[in-house]
């Protein structure tokens, strides 16, 4: 069965410090991995996907198939990064995502 694990419920970091959100998955095929973000009082939105290999708002994530991980990283956290972050896996079905439990990030000045 496919599963997405985010071990940290809460990450509290200081502004300017690096932040890393962990995501591990279990899936037998070739998954498509995403990071979604939900800022306070806003809707859930896509932050980035592994196939794009791009940096969004300073965040990057690399798919490591050997470790079945897709950790999200940012070298210098900003206060506006405070949000709920969800790692998600799309296996084969169109539009169906398996979400992790989410990590609340709090960036303090």
């Amino acid at each position: 069965a496919q599963r997405v694990t985010q071990p940290e419920k809460l990450l509290s970091v200081f502004k300017g410090a690096p932040v890393e959100l962990k995501c591990n998955y279990s899936y037998s095929g070739s998954p498509e991995l995403f990071w979604y973000v939900q800022y306070s009082r806003q809707r859930l939105q896509l932050l980035l996907r592994h196939i794009s290999r791009e940096s969004i708002k300073g965040f990057t994530a690399d798919l490591n198939k050997g470790e079945t991980s897709f950790h999200l990283k940012k070298p210098f956290a900003q206060e506006e990064d405070s949000a709920m972050y969800y790692c998600a896996l799309r296996s084969d079905s169109w539009g169906k995502l398996q979400f992790g439990a989410g990590t609340q990030v709090v960036v303090t000045p």
Binding site: R43, L44, G95, A101, G102
Partner: protein
């Protein structure tokens, strides 16, 4: 991209009653998805709503409890039937739409239901 509007945004309901949530999309989409987010939990897919056919439900969800309509390519409803306090959740409508040369899942703002 896709802009999704959900109604109601929140409601307080009595045990045993039913509530219908509406989802309107600003463009035609083939499939729409209904997710549930229980308090302190992640999102769980309830069902996929296909236009012109019955919805496809995920394990643990049944049509009698969560009937879904999909009358056209821009609209869907989810009914939460015979509600109990365990149904208190945020219900989210989502669609996959094209962004550039790929697709992306877009979400509505959610409908927060509290069952007393």
């Amino acid at each position: 991209s896709a802009v999704i509007s959900q109604k109601p945004s929140r409601d307080i309901c009595q045990r045993g009653t039913s509530l219908t949530i509406q989802c309107q999309v600003d463009s035609q989409v083939t499939m729409m998805f209904w997710y549930r987010q229980q308090p302190g939990q992640s999102l769980t897919l309830i069902a996929t709503a296909n236009q012109g056919s019955e919805a496809t439900y995920e394990s643990g969800f049944v049509i009698d409890k969560f009937p879904i309509s999909r009358p056209n390519l821009t609209f869907s409803t989810l009914t939460v039937s015979n509600m109990s306090p365990e149904d208190s959740s945020i219900y989210l409508c989502s669609v996959e739409a094209a962004t550039g040369d790929t697709g992306e899942l877009f979400f509505g703002e959610g409908s927060r239901l509290t069952v007393l």
